[in-house]
Symmetry: C3
Subunit: 116 residues, 3 copies
């Protein structure tokens, strides 16, 4: 069964699709100067875009892992998440604290989803 | 291919099933006042319950990720894990240290499993 | 649908295959006295070996999660990763900081891949 890859770079690609399942790379903010709310909005927008490109959308999430550089940002991240996640289609989720690739990143979100 | 969701809340659901694969949310202890052994037992019991509801069980684990708030709890967590995990059906596993959503949580376990 | 397990131990197994998808346990260095570059090379060699045994290879990676005990090792880990990962087949990836099961471990890599 073939793998489709999206935004293939030298180090990683942004998405892979195999047998109807979409795997995304950990998404971080385009502009890491933003606060955790702003970064979360950018991350969720990036996820929307990638899911759109891979034949999925945010109603199709299967498992989401959220890494916060500071778990003290849990509520501020959730404020954005709760506005974004579609009622009746909320996914299994785990949220933990881990420092991220650059000190300015406050949130990184990893997704497995289904194609529509 | 349809997604079945279980215990669907406003923020997340506890499980999703797609194409014979079960994805669980990160499970934490019901009573976070317990020590890491007690919390691990509660987490594993919660996983058993969710796997039962989704047509799976602990012989069907595909990949397990264990987050410990303090990696110093590795042995105490394993003491409970080793009693629980079924001989001959042990899954691929990764265990790392990450602080969790509430300071009282000592262990969170994320599961991918197969339906029977 | 049957699950095939590889290197089944009392606590965990090194790989599980289900419906054409390969799940590996978090791989760590055989010799944790090595620096992060040496450990990364050992981890990637272990992944190559397991993927070979499970009917996959490094062109088939679907999602890779890299845990670094010290995110300051990001560049040194990437130097090895970049030499290893096959052009045109780079996978979705997330890299975060988490302490690992033993203090000497500097890098742990968790993989989901497709069979060929």
């Amino acid at each position: 069964m073939a793998i489709q890859r999206f935004h293939v770079g030298a180090r990683m690609s942004e998405a892979a699709v195999h047998n109807g399942v979409v795997y995304l790379s950990g998404q971080v903010a385009e502009d890491p100067s933003r606060d955790v709310g702003g970064q979360t909005r950018q991350v969720l927008a990036a996820i929307d875009k990638l899911l759109g490109e891979t034949g999925s959308d945010k109603t199709q999430l299967l498992q989401v892992t959220i890494f916060l550089a500071d778990i003290g940002d849990f509520s501020a991240m959730n404020a954005e998440w709760d506005k974004w996640v579609p009622a009746g289609h909320t996914p299994p989720r785990a949220t933990v604290e881990s420092k991220l690739a650059r000190p300015a990143y406050k949130v990184e979100i990893k997704v497995i989803a289904a194609q529509k």
